[in-house]
Assembly symmetry: C2
Homo-oligomer: 227 residues x 2
DNA sequence: AGTGTGAGTTAGTTTAATCTAAATCAGATC
DNA sequence: GATCTGATTTAGATTAAACTAACTCACACT
C-alpha cells in the first residue's frame, strides 16, 4: 500500500476535481462548458486544465464528449468534499456561522487545512455524517453514502416525505428556506401541484402550509417518510 | 475613511510582508538576502518581488540597502500577524494542538481565512492578547504591544525574571522547552553564566535548576519580574 | 587610489493559470 | 447528403512567482 510520489495538488486542480465529481456523479461525462460555468472561467481555460489533468492521470478525457474522474481523481475529489463539508459543519456548530455564509468560507479553507486539522474538527463534532445542508460527508477512507433522493418538484401529490438535503449554496435562497422551515429533517406532505411547471404546495408537519415554486422545489431533495 | 480599491494580496505577497515586518521591526532595513533566507527562495526572486511591492506602495526600496514597510504595508503585515497568532491560539486551545505543531498549520491558514472567521475565533477565545508562544496579538485595529524584552542570553546573573516569549517555531526546540518548564509565565532567577558564549543557569520558581545553552537562551525573552 | 568579495540586481527561462480570437468538430435540421 | 450552429479545441498572449547564470555595486582592505 505504498502511495507513489503524490505531488501536492494546486487549489485550482482541487476545485476542478470537485466540480467534475459533481457533474459526473450521475454516471455521465462532465462537459467542458458546464465545468467552465461552474468554475466561472472561460471554456478554453477548461480545455487547458483538462489536458494537464488527464496527463496526470486524474481524469479521462474523451475529446468533444467530456471528462470523467479516474479512481485516483475520484479519491482526491472525495477528500476535498469531506474537507468542505466538515468545515461547513464545524463553522456552523462551533463558530456560529449560519448555513448561508458557510459555503464561501469553506471554499477557500478546504485548500489550506491539513488532514490532521480536519480529523480534529471531525472528532470535536463527533464524526458528523451530514453537513448543514444535509449533504453526506465522505468518510476519511473515501466512502460516501449514496441515497437516491427525490426532488420536491417531481414528488407525487399525496406523498409523505422527509426533507433530506437542500441543494443550493446561495445565501439568499438558504435564508429563505430557513425562515420557511424548509430544513433537513422536516416532515411534509405534498398537497398540490399546479401544471406547466407550476408551484408545489406542501403541509409541513410542524408548521403550516408552504407554496414552493418549481426552481426552489428542485433544490429540495426528499425521501419517502418512514411512518 | 474610504479605502481605495485594495486589490487582494496573494499568498506570496502576504508572506513577504510578514517577513519584512519581522526583519525591520528593530527599526532598520530588511536585507534582500535575509528575506530570501527566511522565505527559502533565491535572492533574485526577492529582487523581483521587491520591485512589484514597491510599485504597489507596500514597501520602500533603497537599492543595495534594503526595504522597509510603508504605512500601508505595515497595516497589511500586522493584519497577517494577527491572523497567524489568533489561529495558533485557537488551534491550541480549542483543537488540542501542541505549541510545536501549530505554526505550520497557521502559516497556510492565515491566507485563507476571512476577517469574519478570525474575529469569531478571537471572540470564542475571549479576545486573547498573546499567542501560545507568548507573542503579542495585534488588535483588529492594527495596534501591537511593544514591550522591550531581554533575552536570557544577555540577562545579568542574579536577575529575577519572568519568561514572556519563546522566540522559535521549531517543533523540536519547542517541545524541549515545554518539558523543561520553560514556557511563557515561568518565573526564574539567573544563577550563573559561563564565559565565551557559555550556558546560562537558572532556577525556576516552580521547578528545579536548568542549564540553557547560548543558542536556546537567545530565544527565551524575559522581563524583570514584578516581586 | 586600486582591488577583491560578497551582496544585490538584471537578464532570460519555466510553470501554472488564466484570457481572447480563431479554427474545427459533432450532431441536429433541412 | 449538405449546411448550420453551438460546443470544443487550438493558438497565442498575459501575469505571478519562482529559478539559474551573469553582471554590477558598495565597501573594506591594502
Ligand atoms: Mn475551493
Ligand atoms: Mn454544504
Ligand atoms: Mn503564510
Ligand atoms: Mn507563535
Amino acid at each position: 500500500m505504498h502511495t507513489v510520489h503524490e505531488a501536492p495538488l494546486t487549489r485550482s486542480v482541487e476545485d476542478y476535481l470537485k466540480v467534475i465529481y459533481h457533474l459526473s456523479s450521475q454516471g455521465g461525462f462532465a462537459a467542458t462548458s458546464d465545468i467552465a460555468a461552474m468554475l466561472e472561467v472561460a471554456p478554453p481555460s477548461v480545455s487547458g486544465m483538462v489536458k494537464r489533468l488527464s496527463e496526470t492521470g486524474l481524469i479521462e478525457h474523451v475529446p468533444y464528449r467530456g471528462v470523467q474522474l479516474t479512481q485516483q481523481g475520484r479519491r482526491a475529489a472525495l477528500k476535498m468534499i469531506r474537507r468542505h463539508r466538515i468545515l461547513e459543519t464545524y463553522l456552523t456548530q462551533q463558530l456560529g456561522y449560519d448555513w448561508g455564509g458557510v459555503h464561501e468560507e469553506a471554499e477557500r479553507l478546504e485548500h489550506a487545512v491539513s488532514d490532521r486539522l480536519i480529523e480534529r474538527m471531525a472528532g470535536a463534532l463527533g464524526e458528523p455524517r451530514y453537513d448543514p445542508h444535509g449533504a453526506p460527508i465522505p468518510t476519511a477512507a473515501g466512502e460516501i453514502e449514496e441515497t437516491e433522493l427525490l426532488s420536491l418538484a417531481e414528488a407525487p401529490v399525496g406523498a409523505d416525505l422527509e426533507l433530506r438535503e437542500v441543494g443550493t449554496q446561495d445565501p439568499a435562497r438558504l435564508s429563505y428556506f430557513a425562515e420557511q422551515g424548509l430544513v433537513p429533517g422536516a416532515r411534509l406532505t405534498v398537497t398540490d401541484r399546479q401544471p406547466f411547471n407550476g408551484p408545489t404546495t406542501v403541509r409541513l408537519e410542524s408548521a403550516g402550509v408552504r407554496v414552493v415554486g418549481r426552481e426552489l422545489a428542485q433544490a429540495l431533495r426528499c425521501l419517502a417518510a418512514a411512518r
